[in-house]
């Protein structure tokens, strides 16, 4: 028995590699998002992402099993280097990607003009967090879906739904971004490698782990100490917005956010009623084992809710960062 006011949402899953994409499709993803190798997408990490040929094969694999492929071309080309981003859009269109996910205004315009039939999604990197901002992009580039920043409450998403002309995609699981997406220069401040222009955040080449005399693990990004983990304490990757710092008012505290992961399993029915078209799982940089476990768990949960059943909620805690989970901003404004 389906609850009448619920839309069947699309489950949108991450893939950093071709085999992760096949794993996601096999585990029940309705759509998989991925990026090409290089700086054209926001997960430009060594050993990750697709060649043009791998993308074609991935689209064939997904389409053969009724799943979609969404290509993220969602970083911001610096002036003088736009050709690479345009080529990425062309590659996605030629490969038969079901949508191109864009953030930069120039890239969006190129895609809309050069490939007028191509479906475009507005990346979370565009940072469109109000109805007017979203309407601006929809009007300018015929955007069909917006990926919402992880800063809105379910109530705010519901209000938004009635005021914009496009579909909504919302994050339900994974890394919780502290800084407004697409507007953060912390990585380039510390390493010279930019999240917006190079598609990297806290590049591995600038990460250093060392153990001090007490057996504590010190994590550094470039020249700066990001955190220190006592012996036995589980460690974290040194991302600036997940570190511990000191101010005159407090010392050794998570100044931005604790290392937690977003998990909205319990809010799924609310999101489905709020008019969310697509539920997005973060983690293109995560392993295939992660993709398999998370996609399968959310497939079961969504199917159960659609059938009017309470799902047996899998314990996804083991896959969350720092072994703790949060509903972030989605539950209440107190998070802010």
């Amino acid at each position: 028995m389906t609850t009448p006011d619920m839309h069947r949402p699309e489950l949108v899953c991450p893939a950093g590699t071709p085999s992760a994409l096949r794993t996601a499709v096999d585990a029940g993803a309705d759509a998989v998002y991925c990026g090409l190798q290089g700086p054209t997408n926001a997960r430009n990490f060594p050993g990750l992402n697709f060649t043009a040929q791998e993308l074609r094969q991935a689209v064939a694999y997904a389409h053969g099993r009724g799943a979609k492929v969404l290509l993220a071309v969602n970083s911001f080309p610096p002036a003088g280097r736009t050709a690479e981003w345009k080529e990425a859009v062309d590659i996605g269109v030629a490969a038969g990607a079901d949508a191109i996910i864009v953030a930069d205004i120039g890239v969006a315009q190129y895609a809309a003009r050069t490939h007028p039939g191509q479906r475009l999604h507005l990346s979370v990197q565009a940072g469109a967090s109000s109805p007017e901002a979203i309407r601006f992009y929809c009007r300018a580039f015929d955007i069909k879906r917006v990926v919402l920043p992880r800063i809105l409450t379910v109530k705010e998403i519901s209000d938004l739904h009635s005021r914009i002309p496009c579909e909504i995609e919302a994050f339900i699981f994974g890394n919780i971004g502290m800084m407004a997406e697409g507007r953060c220069s912390l990585s380039s401040y510390v390493t010279g490698q930019s999240t917006n222009m190079d598609g990297v955040c806290s590049p591995a080449g600038d990460v250093h782990y060392s153990e001090d005399a007490d057996g504590a693990l010190v994590t550094k990004l470039g020249q700066f100490t990001i955190d220190r983990f006592a012996r036995g304490e589980s460690a974290g990757y040194p991302t600036v917005c997940k570190g511990r710092y000191c101010t005159k008012a407090k010392s050794g505290y998570y100044a931005f956010e604790e290392p937690v992961s977003l998990n909205l399993t319990r809010l799924l029915p609310d999101l489905m009623r709020a008019g969310v078209t697509a539920l997005k799982i973060e983690g293109r940089q995560r392993s295939r084992a992660y993709v398999k476990a998370v996609v399968a768990a959310f497939r079961r949960a969504v199917d159960a809710y659609m059938a009017g059943r309470e799902p047996g909620l899998d314990n996804l805690l083991a896959l969350t960062e720092g072994h703790r989970e949060t509903q972030g901003a989605f539950r209440s404004k107190a998070w802010r």
């Binding site: 060594p46 050993g47 999240t195 955040c201 591995a204 153990e211 589980s234 990757y237 995560r286 960062e321």
Partner: protein, 192 residues
């Protein structure tokens, strides 16, 4: 946004992975297995075996080395802390190599991965979220982290886990490798 290697998975996928050599955790007997098997073997005998392993992997999975991109030019020292030797991996696209060295040798390298044999086996097994191994601190990385991230991502893309692939083609090492892998997986499934 973060690259790979974050907190994930249970902090201790199995007790053995978390221990250091000489500790008395329950996983110890599995850890010691490879050392017992390999201690009497002289290094010069192992050399061609590892050469054959890496040549075999390169022949069967050229895409693995292609995926490393520029990071494939880096030298990675693999340090199985409970084995009598270390391994230098040069994952070069055209002539990759894997050579054993005495612990007493100074082996120039760009990055180093340290862990027990079973933890390293876990890394190439592809069954658990490998990020967990890093953040539970079972696996230590120093030097050029990008080289290690690239290797981990490339390994993760393999359809058949590298561990199985090697176990199937490792000549005299196949049997102990399969045995270790079997024990690892049995242990893991009984500790879910």
């Amino acid at each position: 946004m973060q690259p790979a290697f974050r907190h994930a998975g249970s902090a201790r996928p199995y007790p053995g992975a978390a221990t250091v050599p000489g500790s008395s955790q329950p996983g110890r007997r599995y850890q010691d297995l490879p050392r017992r098997a390999l201690e009497p073997v002289p290094l010069f005998l192992l050399r061609p075996l590892f050469a054959a392993i890496v040549a075999g992997v390169a022949g069967r999975h050229p895409e693995l080395f292609g995926r490393l991109g520029p990071e494939g030019g880096k030298r990675i020292l693999i340090d199985p802390v409970n084995l009598p030797f270390v391994l230098l991996l040069r994952p070069y696209r055209y002539r990759p190599s894997l050579t054993p060295h005495r612990r007493s040798e100074a082996v120039p390298h760009d990055a180093r991965i340290c862990g027990t044999f079973l933890t390293l086996l876990e890394l190439i097994d592809g069954q658990v979220d490998s990020d967990a191994l890093f953040f539970s601190r079972d696996l230590r990385v120093d030097g050029d982290t990008a080289a290690v991230v690239a290797l981990r991502n490339a390994l993760d893309d393999m359809e058949v886990p590298l561990a199985d692939d090697i176990a199937g083609h490792a000549g005299p090492l196949s049997r102990p490798m399969r045995a270790a892998l079997g024990r690892l997986r049995t242990f893991r499934s009984s500790h879910r």
